[in-house]
Each structure stands twice: as structure tokens, then as C-alpha cells.
């Protein structure tokens, strides 16, 4: 009789899960226990290599894991129980899918013999999460578990990154089987993302770039996902070509905001110069972005006279919204490296002085202008003050969703990648606070600030308790306008100023709320007190809710109105009632 009890690879499914986490270099996971994951929690209890952060709601675990992933470049891991634990993960999984964030979620499931019986806390987790994961698995055999876990990490982190979920029935967690460390054969043979770009296409791209008169580089989150090499090469390409560069919301930080070729963000609330440059360019180099509808505005009027080069690791991003001339499929870093090499060998910096002069004129319109006040804090001013106060500090910013998010993108300058965590694709209110928890876990000594709105922050407020428990000194900087400002803005511009349910009634006293959680509350009303209060917030080494009372009715400009093109932006100085009504009219009489 063979004695398997001495074989170190013989272990329970629950032990395999912890072991696989360790083998993949995971040091922190975010989770919430329940009946269907108790064997895994038992294993977690008996070891110290993986730290478990107990959140207060599974959605918080998912967003925290996203923040962790986005700020480190490593996969984030979440652990949830069956049924409601799994359904609470649907929002973060979808969020991570939209923003290409590597996430590994392990969910408990009822025992295999009960699956399909409407057992207590049973739900069809793989069915529910199929459309919101890059891939998912239900593991019915403990001897399959190691392979699936390793494949899950591989799929989440390679190609276009994304969330994956492994559903593990409780009997599989208890069962004993054979574990093996990660190996190549764990992965589907059918999964082989393309990394290297096609050489002919790269040559075509270089010819276009070298002969451009009015070029622009438009970069996105893909550059940041690709890693530090892609950022370095992107910066070098800007240097070598002298081209102007703009970026999507997700791409901020890949090129430094202080860089001389920086145009600011583009899109619906992007700068005038960025959008005009996109509209009038003759050659556009899109790197790791996907021509989202918030970027393009009206598609049939999007950059009508340009040749477009599109670098993306996901072939399905090519020609999805906008037809491009030179698609190059592969990893940004790889392709940027090749482009640079060919460009340096065969081309020289094109003379685009006239183009820069044109851009200077657009810049002079000062599209981010706002009128400061001595009586009331303008939200834009609050972000600028926050930015000034954090300059030179090791700072990470997360956001919620709304006007404050757009102002943060417009007025906070990012110098490095991985410093800006925001829900771009899904636009999830409630993302920022738990994401800040995740970022702070990954970077315990850094300054982590969630730029929040009064409405959004209430969606996942309970994670303040997590921050207090783990002594995570996150700063929740609430631009409190007492409105769902972005909703109100659309109602003002597009729905005849009928402010249906967008006023934040019965707001809590955020200072008392902070104190109730065991954190610190700070409130500020007067512009004159702002800098001092921000300083105080930064110096406190505990979680802070900062209630920044701002001008209630301020709106976010510039803005591309409905059905309009990039060159038809509404600028702040024009945004009086009459011009706004006209800009949004577009053939309809509603505004």
C-alpha cells in the first residue's frame, strides 16, 4: 500500500488554493467569509504568507482588488462565498472587464451533489459571471483545481488583462488531491495572445509618422497595462518625433502632465486643444486605447481627414467603432519598441512647427478656465489646491464617478503611470473608496486619496470600517456639492432643467460619520481655509473623511454636446444659458 500522507503535494482543495496564491506571489487578498468558503478561511487562518483583508461588502473586496492591481501591475485577488457573496462581485468583475484590470476571484459554491437543486446560497455563479469575466471555471474535481488556478492567473494577467473567476464547490475544498506548481501545460492551447506586431504594418506606420504634417499620439490604458517598458517607450517616441500627445481617462500618467508635448485629456470633457488636435490631425497614432464613444463623440465626424494607426493587443478593438488604416495587433511595449527602432534608423523628426503654432492658438483658449471666488470653494480650485499640496509626495489618486471625477482628471497632473485609479468603462459610483483601501494595502506608506462625490461615496462608505481596522490612512476628499452633480448637469443641459431626483437630500454629517467609524472628519467651507485643512488632512495618519463644501451648481466644462464633433466643443466662457441651449439643440427643442 502506498502511503500518500508524506507526499507534500497531497493536500485538500482549500489548501491548494492558498498554496497556489503563494506560488503566484500573492501577498494580500480581499474577501468576506461564508459557509461555502469556510474550508479556505480555515487554511488562511493557519498560515501567515498571505494576508487577508476583511472588507465590509463583497463589492468592496472586488474594487479593493482592482485598486491593488491597478497601482501595482500585479493581479488583485478576491475571495467570496457562494450565492450573495458571488452576486455582490458582479459589479467589480464587470468594472475590471471594462477597464482591463487583472483580477482573480475565487468563489465558494455549494457541494457538487447539490448544484442545480436550489440549495441554500446556491446561484449559477459561472452562468452569472460568464459575460463579466474574461474566463471562468467551475471546478468539480479536486485534481483539476491546481491546473485551473494556475490557468486563471495566466489568463487574468496576459494578453488584454481582465477578471477571471474560479468557482469551487465546498466538497472540492474538503477533498484531497494532488497539487502541482504552475506549468505551461496548465493553459488552454487555444489561448495564445499575440505579442509581437507585424513588421510590414510597423513599416507602414513609420512611413505615415515620418511624413506627418499634423500628427497626434492618442494613448490609453493599454500602455499602462503593458507595464513600465511601454511607458518608457511612449515617452521616448514623443521625444524622438516631437509629436503632441493626448490620452484617455484611463491612460493618464503614461506621459507626464508636466511634459511639454502634453495636450491634456481628450474626449467629452477633454481639453479644447486635445480635441481640436484630434479633429484636425493628418496622422493619428492610437496606442492601447479603443475609440470609446466618450472619446470619439459623433463617429462620422471623428477626425475626418486623418490616417489612423491603431496599436492594440485585442484584435476585437480594431475597427470596432472607427475604421483605421494601419492596425497593428500586439503588445504596446513590443510594438512601440519596433516603431522606435525603425523610425530612428530610417526617418528624421518631421518639421511640424506650423502645427504646434496652431495648437498654441487652441491652448490659448484656456478651455479649463473657471472663475475663482472668495466666498465659496470652486470644485476645480479644490482639486488644484489638493494637487499643489501633494506635489512631490508619493501620491495615489482614486475617484468615484461624476463631475468630481472629471475635474480630478482635468486638474490633477499625473507624472507617472499606476497613480490614477478610476472607473472609466463602467463608471461605477462607489469604486473609489474601496479602491483606495486596496491601493493603501499595496502601498502602506504612500498618500492615498479618493477624490469623491457626496452621492458616490455613500455607495461603499462601509469600507471606512475596513480602513480603520487595518490602519489604512486613506483620505476621502469629498467634493460635496449636495447634488449628483453630473446627473444634474445633464438634466440642465438636456432635460429642460427638470432636476428629477438629483438633489442629495438628507446628507449625513460626514464629520460625525468619520468619527463614528473611528476615523477623522474635517469640514471646510471657505476658500481661505482650504489649504490649511488639506495640510491637516495629509498630516493625519488615520483614515479621513474630508467634507469639502463646494459651489453647488458648478458644471463641468468643456464638453462635447450631444451629437456633435470634436470641433464643436462647448467652452466654459461660452456656457451661458443661451449658448448652452443652442449647442445642445441639435435639431431638437428640448433644452
Amino acid at each position: 500500500m502506498s502511503d500518500k500522507s508524506h507526499d507534500p503535494n497531497q493536500m485538500t482543495g482549500a489548501a491548494m488554493i492558498v498554496r497556489a496564491l503563494i506560488d503566484h506571489g500573492v501577498t494580500d487578498i480581499f474577501g468576506y467569509p461564508g459557509g461555502a468558503v469556510l474550508p479556505i478561511y480555515d487554511e488562511i487562518f493557519q498560515q501567515s504568507e498571505v494576508q487577508h483583508i476583511l472588507v465590509r461588502h463583497e463589492q468592496g473586496a472586488g474594487h479593493a482588488a482592482e485598486g491593488y492591481a491597478r497601482s501595482t501591475g500585479k493581479p488583485g485577488v478576491a475571495l467570496v462565498t457562494s450565492g450573495p457573496g458571488a452576486t455582490n462581485m458582479v459589479t467589480p468583475l464587470t468594472d475590471a472587464l471594462m477597464d482591463s484590470i487583472p483580477l482573480v476571484c475565487i468563489s465558494g459554491q455549494v457541494p457538487t451533489h447539490l448544484i442545480g437543486n436550489d440549495a441554500f446560497q446556491e446561484c449559477d455563479t459561472v452562468g452569472i459571471t460568464r459575460p463579466c469575466t474574461k474566463h471562468n471555471w467551475l471546478v468539480r474535481d479536486v485534481n483539476e483545481l491546481a491546473k485551473v488556478l494556475h490557468e486563471a492567473f495566466y489568463v487574468a494577467t496576459t494578453g488584454r488583462p481582465g477578471p477571471v473567476l474560479v468557482d469551487v464547490p465546498k466538497d472540492v475544498q474538503f477533498a484531497t488531491g494532488t497539487y502541482h506548481p504552475p506549468r505551461k501545460s496548465d493553459v488552454h492551447r487555444s489561448y495564445a495572445p499575440r505579442v509581437k506586431g507585424d513588421a510590414t504594418q510597423i513599416r507602414k506606420a513609420v512611413v505615415l509618422l515620418a511624413n506627418a504634417k499634423r500628427p497626434v499620439i492618442y494613448s490609453g490604458g493599454g500602455v499602462i497595462n503593458s507595464g513600465p517598458e511601454a511607458t518608457k517607450l511612449l515617452r521616448e517616441l514623443v521625444e524622438v518625433t516631437g509629436f503632441p500627445i493626448t490620452s484617455t481617462l484611463m491612460g493618464l500618467g503614461a506621459y507626464p502632465a508636466s511634459g511639454k508635448n502634453w495636450l491634456g485629456m481628450l474626449g467629452m470633457h477633454g481639453t479644447y486643444e486635445a480635441n481640436m488636435t484630434m479633429h484636425d490631425c493628418d496622422v493619428m497614432l492610437c496606442v492601447g486605447a479603443r475609440f470609446d464613444d466618450r472619446i470619439t463623440g459623433r463617429v462620422d465626424a471623428f477626425s475626418p481627414n486623418s490616417k489612423k494607426i491603431h496599436i492594440d493587443i485585442d484584435p476585437s478593438s480594431i475597427n470596432k467603432n472607427i475604421r483605421v488604416d494601419v492596425p497593428i495587433i500586439g503588445d504596446c511595449a513590443n510594438i512601440l519598441g519596433d516603431i522606435l527602432q525603425v523610425f530612428k534608423a530610417e526617418a528624421k523628426k518631421p518639421d511640424i512647427k506650423n502645427w504646434w503654432q496652431q495648437i498654441a492658438q487652441w491652448r490659448a483658449r484656456n478651455s479649463l478656465y473657471y472663475k475663482k471666488s472668495n466666498d465659496v470653494i470652486l470644485p476645480q480650485h479644490a482639486i488644484q489646491s489638493l494637487f499643489e499640496a501633494t506635489r512631490g509626495k508619493d501620491t495615489y489618486i482614486t475617484t468615484e464617478v461624476g463631475q468630481h471625477q472629471m475635474w480630478a482628471a482635468q486638474f490633477f497632473g499625473f507624472e507617472e503611470p499606476h497613480r490614477w485609479m478610476t472607473s472609466g468603462g463602467l463608471g461605477t459610483m462607489g469604486y473609489g473608496l474601496p479602491a483606495a483601501v486596496g491601493v493603501q494595502v499595496a502601498h502602506p506608506d504612500s498618500l492615498v486619496i479618493d477624490i469623491a462625490g457626496d452621492a458616490s461615496v455613500q455607495m461603499t462608505m462601509q469600507e471606512m470600517s475596513t480602513a480603520v481596522q487595518y490602519e489604512l490612512p486613506i483620505k476621502i476628499f469629498i467634493l460635496n456639492n449636495q447634488y449628483m452633480g453630473m446627473v444634474r448637469q445633464w438634466q440642465q443641459l438636456l432635460h429642460g432643467n427638470r432636476l428629477s431626483h438629483s438633489y442629495s437630500e438628507a446628507l449625513p454629517d460626514f464629520v460625525k460619520l468619520a468619527e463614528a467609524y473611528g476615523g477623522v472628519g474635517i469640514q471646510v467651507h471657505k476658500p481661505g481655509d482650504l489649504d490649511g485643512a488639506i495640510k491637516e488632512m495629509i498630516s493625519v495618519k488615520r483614515p479621513v473623511l474630508f467634507d469639502c463644501r463646494v459651489a453647488a451648481l458648478e458644471n463641468c466644462f468643456p464638453m462635447i454636446p450631444s451629437g456633435k464633433a470634436h470641433n464643436e466643443m462647448l467652452l466654459p466662457e461660452q456656457a451661458n444659458d443661451e449658448a448652452t441651449a443652442k449647442a445642445f439643440a441639435g435639431g431638437k427643442a428640448l433644452v
Binding site: R130, L138, R189, S190, D314, R323, P561, L590
Partner: protein
Amino acid sequence: MNQPASAYFIEDRHDPNETHTLAVLVQNEPGVLARVIGLFSGRGYNIESLTVSETEAQKHLSRITIVTTGTPMVIQQIKHQLDRMIPVYQVVDMTETRRSIERELAMVKVRGQGEHRVEALRLADAFRARVIDATTESFVFEITGNTDKINEFIDLMRPLGLVEVSRTGVAAIGRGPEGM
């Protein structure tokens, strides 16, 4: 242009629709068909016909044949979206290769007597349909061919007492010695 109250540009796309037959080679594992169907419903693509069966048991390979319609841009999207699924090995646009044979099998039940019955048999013969079940008042015909031929046969049977039709959906394969 009458734009509704939205910051989206809501537009009509006017490119004409095309019909394409796609052959998709997949790992035969739980949920793979649900993934493919979910992709079509989730992204609003059309499925005109879908057939699936394991084709290489030892390698756990299944082949899914999908007939779909859409603008050229949508068809391209469908192919890319299918191709990036983890258990998908290969997607071949059989229509684009212009060298594929498509077949469908149908079983057609017809009930009638006298002249109708004779006429049904005569037409079945002309279409090379086989009789696979018969009673004194009914036939079940088995017919193989491309979709148009089968549609035509069914249309002809309708006035002769068509009762029921069961169809397999389209299977497709390329001409010549090469595999996919």
C-alpha cells in the same frame, strides 16, 4: 437630424447586411456553447442557424457552425470576438473563403391522400428526398442540401399537407484537400 436628449450620438448605420457562415473550432468543455451563444445575445448579433457537435473526441474538439448576418464591420467584430474566447481554437469565415460546401438535413412530415400523396412523392423524388417513414396517410421525407433547396422543398410540401419540419441547421466544410 433629430437628435434625442442624449450626449451619445445615436446614429443609424446604413451599410447593407451580409450573411456569413462561420466555422468555429472549440475545446469541448462545459459552458463553451453558452459562451458562444451569450456572446451573440449579449452583443446583439444575429444567429440564423447554429449547429454543434464533437468532431474529434480524443482531442475534445467540437465544431460549431454559425450562420449570421450583419454589416461587414459587424461580421468582422463577431469573428474577432469569437476568436478571443479562451476555448476557441480557430474561426474560419466559410463565406469569405468562397470555397465551401454547405449542407443541411431536414425531416419533413406530410399528411394527405390521393393526388396530394402522389404529388408529394413525385416532388420528393425530384429533390432526391428519401422516404424514411410511411403510413397510409403520411410520409416522413429526409432531404439534404443547402438551405435554399430545403426551403424550396418545404414550400412545395405546404399545400400538399405539410405537418412538421425538423432541421439540423447548416454544416459547412471547405473544398479541396486542405483541412481548416
